[in-house]
Amino acid sequence: MSVVIGQKSGLDAYELTLRNDRRKALVVKVIAYSILILAALVYIMPFVLSAISSFKSDPDISKHPVAFKFDRAMGSPSLDGVRGLNRDSITFPRWTLNSIFVTTVVVGGRLIIASFGGYALARMKFKGQKYFFSLMLLVMGIPHIVLAIPQFIVMKQMNILNTYWAMILPMMFDCADLLVMKQFMEQIPKEMEESAAIDGATRFQTFRQIVLPMAVPGLLTLLILRTVGVWNEFLKVLIAVPAAPQLKTLPVGLASLQGEFGSSTPWASILSGALITTMPMAILFFVFQRFFRQGLNSGAVKG
């Protein structure tokens, strides 16, 4: 066939390959979409099922753990799950406030520390700077779990275990914050600072009036990323408040639900709790998507 066409004219052969390519392209499209849609289902369904299940009654959820609809005969939809989150030692309202408080203080503090420190690293030359910077890089890779035991001792000696301080202080100092701010600040044109310096502005004035306003996009990116990180932090809080259940944050409180109800697992409550823990970050994510992508590109994630 193809030989004959090749002999006839170049144009026909070209058209045929074009048509062939189109058919191939269609197959590729169908395969691509099927993979993506299947993957999207796998990614979304667990959230949908657990969101629905958190409003099922306890008998309904144990009878139909896979159903995406409510069984009215069993009393669904119901608020059993949510109600189970505020009784005896389970105090989700308090834990929510703790999460908001700790996240606000830690992220606020970290942004301040990081903008001062990042500016020093980006623009200043001071004695020992190189050594300090290498020290930062050196300790950055140390896993949290390795520091857990000695940090526990430090807090014990400072007598702050089972207080807010024990959650806040160990989360406050992160080398990656400074590296990110350093990067952002290095991108700010130097000329403006130089002319400010010539006009007689002090370092601090230059920093506050010129550098900080220009670093706002960077600060926002860091703000969003660190809010998510601190909100979801588990291990550090777990170790900080072992004997103060009222001080737990949402993830630690959520993890403690399993053992609190005796033998049967209180799925409706656990899934309601998971929903409450996830929701604020989900909203943040949908509103500020842009910053997540920027943050990822600037290497601010996984630091």
Binding site: A39, P65, P143, I145, L147, I198, T277
Partner: protein, 353 residues
């Protein structure tokens, strides 16, 4: 930028800088340290000092409860207990390393491949609803690891969604400590250690070393792969977007097929991202803790204990913080290897980590 290129103007610039220099950098020694001191103090108190304390605790018999400064020094005894002395503590340590090892060699390649495939598809020009897919895949990364773990535990119940979707006998995921490899060999009738696998290595028989991840661990692996792939996909996407359009177009004009372009252009161009994803994966997977804590708490039969979990358990639940610290130092050594590789990559290839 390009306007300033002649040697003359460069000289001029340098002279300008010299003139401005003193005004800008006069008090930098003092101001520099002042600006960085809030961080420096925290770094010393909560990271540097603890690092040395970890080394010190690992050489004591501290229980984790008694006053830490009164603990007795026992030298290298904790390390000996973990690595040399025959006993339950050594075999538990070996078990945690084995469990985590299988976890790593399953999770890292699978999440990397999945992330790459998703990124390549999401990157296609013809695709509609790109941002929807990107959102859907990335969303789990911003949710609490504990919330996601519990959702997966719900799904992997014996009558849960996972068993409903997959055909075959329902699996009791979190009640099954048997290794996947042992299960696989069981299909061929091999249910016990053949004689040549009865030797022992660091407290476990060779047959036990070759168990593969337990069924319970597989459920945890599924959860982690599902959570992380989205972030890794975005890293790959960043790399794909950097490929110049001309390169792709030129190769199409040259008649390169889709596969050829994948091998000859896409792969080499995203190599930095590939290394980054692999190394980040290796560092992260050797520290798995939250998921184990929330989903299985090390069980069943210790088949999901990992070094990170075992450090926590020994130190804060079992009154053996000295032993936990020794384990922490060993884990730190393992992870340092990968961190070192990552650093080398970052400095060689200019990839952000």
């Amino acid at each position: 930028m390009s306007a300033v290129s002649s040697p003359m103007s460069r000289v001029g610039q340098r002279r300008q800088k010299k003139v401005k220099g003193p005004a800008l950098f006069e008090h930098d020694d003092r101001t520099g340290w002042m600006f960085i001191s809030p961080f420096a103090i925290g770094l010393v108190v909560f990271i540097i000092v603890p690092i040395f304390m970890a080394l010190w605790v690992s050489m004591t018999d501290w229980s984790g409860i008694s006053p830490p400064l009164k603990a007795t020094n026992v030298g290298l005894k904790n390390y000996q207990t973990l690595l040399v002395d025959d006993g339950l503590r050594r075999s538990d340590f070996a078990l945690s390393i084995k469990n985590n090892f299988y976890y790593v060699i399953f999770v890292v390649p699978i999440q990397t491949m999945l992330a790459f495939v998703l990124a390549v598809i999401v990157h296609q020009k013809f695709l509609k609803g790109k941002s929807f897919f990107r959102l859907a895949f990335f969303f789990p990364s911003i949710t609490s690891s504990i919330a996601v773990s519990l959702i997966f535990k719900f799904i992997f119940q014996i009558d849960g969604l996972a068993n409903a979707v997959f055909p075959g006998k329902p699996v009791n995921w979190f009640g099954n400590s048997r290794g996947l490899l042992h299960n696989f060999l069981g299909v061929f009738g091999v249910n016990k250690a053949p004689s040549w696998l009865q030797g022992r290595f660091v407290g476990l028989s060779l047959w036990d070393w070759l168990s593969g991840p337990s069924v319970a661990m597989s459920a945890i692996m599924a959860c982690v792969i599902w959570t992380t792939s989205g972030t890794l996909m975005l890293i790959f996407l960043g790399g794909l977007q950097n490929i110049p359009v001309e390169l792709d177009e030129a190769s199409i004009l040259d008649g390169a097929s889709g596969w050829k372009r994948m091998w000859l252009i896409t792969f080499p161009m995203v190599r930095p991202q590939l290394f980054l994803v692999l190394v980040l994966g290796l560092i992260g997977t050797w520290q798995v803790f939250d998921q184990v804590y929330a989903m299985s708490f090390g069980g069943p039969d210790k088949s999901t204990i990992t070094p990170a979990f075992w450090i926590y358990y020994q130190s804060f639940r079992n009154g053996s913080a000295g032993l936990g610290a020794a384990l922490a130092v060993i884990l730190c050594a393992i992870i340092s290897v990968f961190t070192y590789i990552q650093r080398r990559l970052v400095s060689d290839k200019g990839v952000e980590g």
